[in-house]
Subunit: 310 residues, 6 copies
Amino acid sequence: MIRNTIRDTVAAITRTCSGEDVFITDGEDVCLPNRGIIIGIIKDLRRVIFPGYFGDENISSTMPDYFLGNMMTEVYEALREQVELAFFYERARKRVSPERTDEEIRSHSARICEEFISRLPYIQEMLLMDVQAGFDGDPAAKSKEDIIFSYPGLFAIYVYRIAHELYRRNVPYIPRIMTEYAHGKTGIDINSGAVIGKYFFIDHGTGIVIGETTQIGDYVKLYQGVTLGALSTRKGQQLSGVKRHPTIGDHVTIYANSTILGGGTVIGANTIIGGNTVISESIPANTRVSMKAPELTMNTAVSDKNRIWD
Amino acid sequence: MIRNTIRDTVAAITRTCSGEDVFITDGEDVCLPNRGIIIGIIKDLRRVIFPGYFGDENISSTMPDYFLGNMMTEVYEALREQVELAFFYERARKRVSPERTDEEIRSHSARICEEFISRLPYIQEMLLMDVQAGFDGDPAAKSKEDIIFSYPGLFAIYVYRIAHELYRRNVPYIPRIMTEYAHGKTGIDINSGAVIGKYFFIDHGTGIVIGETTQIGDYVKLYQGVTLGALSTRKGQQLSGVKRHPTIGDHVTIYANSTILGGGTVIGANTIIGGNTVISESIPANTRVSMKAPELTMNTAVSDKNRIWD
Amino acid sequence: MIRNTIRDTVAAITRTCSGEDVFITDGEDVCLPNRGIIIGIIKDLRRVIFPGYFGDENISSTMPDYFLGNMMTEVYEALREQVELAFFYERARKRVSPERTDEEIRSHSARICEEFISRLPYIQEMLLMDVQAGFDGDPAAKSKEDIIFSYPGLFAIYVYRIAHELYRRNVPYIPRIMTEYAHGKTGIDINSGAVIGKYFFIDHGTGIVIGETTQIGDYVKLYQGVTLGALSTRKGQQLSGVKRHPTIGDHVTIYANSTILGGGTVIGANTIIGGNTVISESIPANTRVSMKAPELTMNTAVSDKNRIWD
Amino acid sequence: MIRNTIRDTVAAITRTCSGEDVFITDGEDVCLPNRGIIIGIIKDLRRVIFPGYFGDENISSTMPDYFLGNMMTEVYEALREQVELAFFYERARKRVSPERTDEEIRSHSARICEEFISRLPYIQEMLLMDVQAGFDGDPAAKSKEDIIFSYPGLFAIYVYRIAHELYRRNVPYIPRIMTEYAHGKTGIDINSGAVIGKYFFIDHGTGIVIGETTQIGDYVKLYQGVTLGALSTRKGQQLSGVKRHPTIGDHVTIYANSTILGGGTVIGANTIIGGNTVISESIPANTRVSMKAPELTMNTAVSDKNRIWD
Amino acid sequence: MIRNTIRDTVAAITRTCSGEDVFITDGEDVCLPNRGIIIGIIKDLRRVIFPGYFGDENISSTMPDYFLGNMMTEVYEALREQVELAFFYERARKRVSPERTDEEIRSHSARICEEFISRLPYIQEMLLMDVQAGFDGDPAAKSKEDIIFSYPGLFAIYVYRIAHELYRRNVPYIPRIMTEYAHGKTGIDINSGAVIGKYFFIDHGTGIVIGETTQIGDYVKLYQGVTLGALSTRKGQQLSGVKRHPTIGDHVTIYANSTILGGGTVIGANTIIGGNTVISESIPANTRVSMKAPELTMNTAVSDKNRIWD
Amino acid sequence: MIRNTIRDTVAAITRTCSGEDVFITDGEDVCLPNRGIIIGIIKDLRRVIFPGYFGDENISSTMPDYFLGNMMTEVYEALREQVELAFFYERARKRVSPERTDEEIRSHSARICEEFISRLPYIQEMLLMDVQAGFDGDPAAKSKEDIIFSYPGLFAIYVYRIAHELYRRNVPYIPRIMTEYAHGKTGIDINSGAVIGKYFFIDHGTGIVIGETTQIGDYVKLYQGVTLGALSTRKGQQLSGVKRHPTIGDHVTIYANSTILGGGTVIGANTIIGGNTVISESIPANTRVSMKAPELTMNTAVSDKNRIWD
């Protein structure tokens, strides 16, 4: 009985799969990139950029360059394979034109990954400034080590900075897998297409959304629940490539749960956006913006003695 | 010294456990379901419903039906055992009446799990529509593959659709373990009791809460931070089973951080709820609702040159 | 070619590391605590405090005290080593004065960890009250088992109560690693410095922030998106140690997405804070506070037949 | 093509299985014992009997009794389940008569496993004498620790002494799985049915065979390649239960590669059997037996200069 | 100091590697087959041929064909990749002529692996006869299950029968990796080139050597320590391909520790070779051969009372 | 009941342990070396000496020196810790005099491990000659890769050459753990104290024993079952340090199952020892030694038609 049920279910699912172009069908010689390996790359690179913090390696002893070089070689190999898979799959789905040959895909992937490796020192420097930003900006940070070890904001920025290098080079699928991994771990959703300056600090962070075409200057600080979003996505894929998300100037601070919407919205430099604010038009530089909070209604009639809660 | 401390601590904890009915005491022949195995079922089923995306299997080659059939058989066996454990434990806690015999629990569990398997093709079809909804609705989605691989909204909906089948069949403990697993991974909390239509899209998603008695129509789209909640939970368990959460019509879009409360609240079809809105009464169909945003206060006195942040 | 790129990248990263005091340099005989082991301690302790729920152990059979005693011994050993590492590393970074000797660090660490173990029965009792609070307060909770297994709020409180014991004893790095682990898993960010009473319930929880100097009484209930935060962190590290976060009285309920800010802000006992409220001044006891919601704008012009979404 | 091949192969193997009574067929509600778990029991018990040697446990610290008690509880549970499986499977194959009921099998298994646990102190004492025998008997042993850690002879004896307790209690399948595991690891094949006295030493050991009905006294020492075997197995299963292997008295030493055959063959106490000897009749006590080695033929004609080897 | 030592050692090893053709040098685009994966194939195939014995699969339930088909598909894929690697590597080392193209290697590997899969039912049938042989021939075998689970002889034969299929198809490296894996586990060294008939039984087995050009008929039984070897290997690689090992007729039994040498040596059918015999010339059929054992020397002077051992 | 049994068993074992000096007792601040880590070192070093063969590393690509350097650093760290543990434990057992201070043990261990690393190129060269010896000497070797991948003889020699470096430096426990690991894997028991020349080949190997004080020249070849042993070990530990095992000259070949005994026994250069020979006195150089095989007894009375086996 259960046998028949399973047999029928297999048949039904197989039938559905063969009619949907998101599934690889029988005989197609392609393969999707491997999410597990991509997440492994994120973990390995973190040990390269913050050596001593996230693995079992004892960096103090003997020879950090061997450790770093070996790790980077492994990352290069693994990433190159995934980037190739991504391009091959994309071609099989006819999403690029003109088509690259196999050889072109291979050499293009190798070139991208080599460039990627060469960007790591820059990324490390940016991240060390982000760590400094966190330490300077948060009295609850007891040390910079706390930030590297524990701050979800730093982790999300780290993954964003890694993924952005691949986004810029038009690698499909992989940047999104990376940033959504960070989103899952932190509740901070930074699209890899966003452009973000140096000395960036996210405090607490849960609920932050930074859309694909957002631009953020230097010395910017965001709190939890901030959305830098689009006004409407009604037109769906027709909006693909259009600037839909705001531009944030240097030295801007945006407090918790504020929402800034729209591709034409520019927040000028040095401006401070108070918490729970909703903004969909540009704000000049050097401004403090806050929302006139609605009046509170207070009612002191709460009285019954034995209740525990409302 | 530490010996004595440990000995005393063991004694104290053992004593506490023996007085609390949430702990299995000595000689009771029951066992809680295993959270790790239940999470394993979620992972395995994802490979059944989106073959090729989440495991190491090479679906293109040879014989997907063997892969699917084997996976389903394993899932069936594992789930059946967990469902049995759940019912046995529930009976031991005297939470059902009249009591089922051992044999009844076993055959009932088998029947539920067989029905569950037979629902998988339906669930897959629903999810493929959810994928389409995501692609149509989000200009940042480069492909449907991005959505399957990476979108937390899709993951949360996937787990909900699985868990809901068990909720409907009154399986204790397991549906909640499932949806809270997704909640932890995504920040999206969909109670397995909610009823949700087809072509459902959640964008970004962190902070979404969808309560147990919520009803959601077809073609609905939610953004991050949306709460579909209860007005008050003051009465606690007395409210168990009462409709406490809203009803959302077809083709409704609810923008970020909006809150809709109350079991009698109905949002009519085709209505659009703007961001940051708080609603606790019904809204007719074909309406655009937005909150008159409080005025912004702008203060351009920000000036000191050397500061980095506010 | 890639060889040269890797070689140059290794050199650049090595150079950067040697100039930054967050990295251990060559020959330094210190080591950072190990994040993986600290997370392992959290997982093991959960099996001590809620025996039967989170491991493969069959608690019903034979001898729970051996299980508990063995687990506690392992936790004690592991924690002691991590606490030592934390103090040694902190000393190497010259962040404490006067310096402790090696021997003092070792015996101090042992004493802290022994005290920690002796607090476990108290922590267990507190958590069982928190479980009761969840069951009493949430009609969607089918059982107390659901809460122990699945509720992210309980997990966050559990980790907080563990970490707080170490925070109180001035252990560096580790409390933060613990609470940020819970933050990542649940979206609930409770700083280990906060002081929280008994019978505490967090429902849903994603997006909650409870700052370092927050004080929370007994019988308090929080919903998702609540921030108990600071008014401004402009002064950064100068504010370290200053009370910056509010004080919440007994029997207070704070509904979803409300924000309460400021070290001087006191919410009196028995008060109910409605959802989406922003408060930065004290509220007397026995008050119901709600925000006068801005008017809704309704526009029934939504009409075009063929659209799927806005 | 490969599809068809796999399909045909599956069909052929399924067909063969359904016709062989060593395979469980469809719908049979039995299950073989699990070899992996049985090997796990051997590994765990080694940590009980030689605490500190084979696990990561730090025995010096705190509380060995918790460690031992927890380990034993786990072993008891795992063994009981495997013993039950073995008896259930044996019954399903109709190899016992009269049949036990389910309940009898369960209580019988529990009783056997409890007795087994109660034998552990005796087994430990025997093994510590075996360790002493190794140290006294082998000048290459630098310490008794070497013997516990490394000597394959001790490992084989350890497994034999464990398995023998189950053999004596007529547990099917499991004793053989145990001793063959040791055989694979050491090249020493001791049938669990053999009866072996105290202070037993095996040096080097590879190639040793000790048959099922062998009896070995106290203070016996064996070298590699010794066979204590049957004269002929021509009658196969008709010989089952018949004494087919020799009896070795106290204080006997048998040097390398000697063969002693036959159920009626008795080697008297204090006797020394030289290397490469073949014996199939009884030897009185207090005898040195050696084989008159055949003459060596020496031929000094080996001469060609450039060869490396013969 | 240790730094310099490591640096020098790396340099020395790198230098050696670059001068040896067994190492892959820089830029060579080849790769050795992966021993771990090949061993994995052996383990997986064992679950196909003896379903229910060696994995966690519950064969009784539901659908063995899915299990078998899925396993076989995985084995086919894994084996094909390893066979390709082996041929590519062999070509890179110029050990085959004329060279195959890439495409030829790929299609040849696929064909070999398909043939291999199609041989599995035959191999299973042969092995079931080997199991029967073991049961009939060994009074210590309590059941055929004992033999499948535990007998090292059966394991060695199983691996030989698998590896022989690849040997016959001239696959390099892999057959040897397979049989040496079995050799390591059992002490039984069967070269994959040997030709072995049906109903073959090896008892105990440690120390058995069966050379590459050995031929063994049906119904043959071997005991531990038997060598079927070459007379001399003085000429080394010049002997490659020459028949160097004996031919054993049907129904032959060879008792323990006997040695039969030489490519021209034929043991006639029905012959029984006694233990400890050395034979280097042919023996007619229907013969019992035993070695006239040298006389034993017995010396009853062993007397001193207090000794433990000689 | 089982509770009481476990409790009593724990008590009995604890009591026994406290009376035996091979167990660490309560409060002792020592720890045994970790067998698992030592085996890990053997596995890692094999990847250093035969890069490309035993791990997943892709040596052809990019940068082998990083791989080698990283691996060696890890081995150095792990070995140093184990060597320290071994010396500390030995001191606690009062087996060395005069006692070293903690600091002396640490610096002595570091020095030994540095020397060990510096010997790796020499060991690699020796092993490459051993590989060549295997290829030259065995017509069944299809390639040198076969030997590196698969030959148990090479594995045993590899482990011996590693362990011998530690034996020479008087490191306790660890050399034996290493060579017995190889013994278990191969059936070849080479004591780490033996001295073995270059170009050494072991064919098949199961059952080989090479005693602690054996000396073996260059170009020596051994077959399975060869014992290079002691005449008598009657005096036990009194013989510790005495030469008890034979000396084998250059270019000697010893065929299968031969036994050479005695510390004064010298086999001269270029000598060939035939199979199944027993020797306990010196043999001059350039000699072929064989044992006059005892006559065979042939009896052609084997006749009954229906038998399968004897």
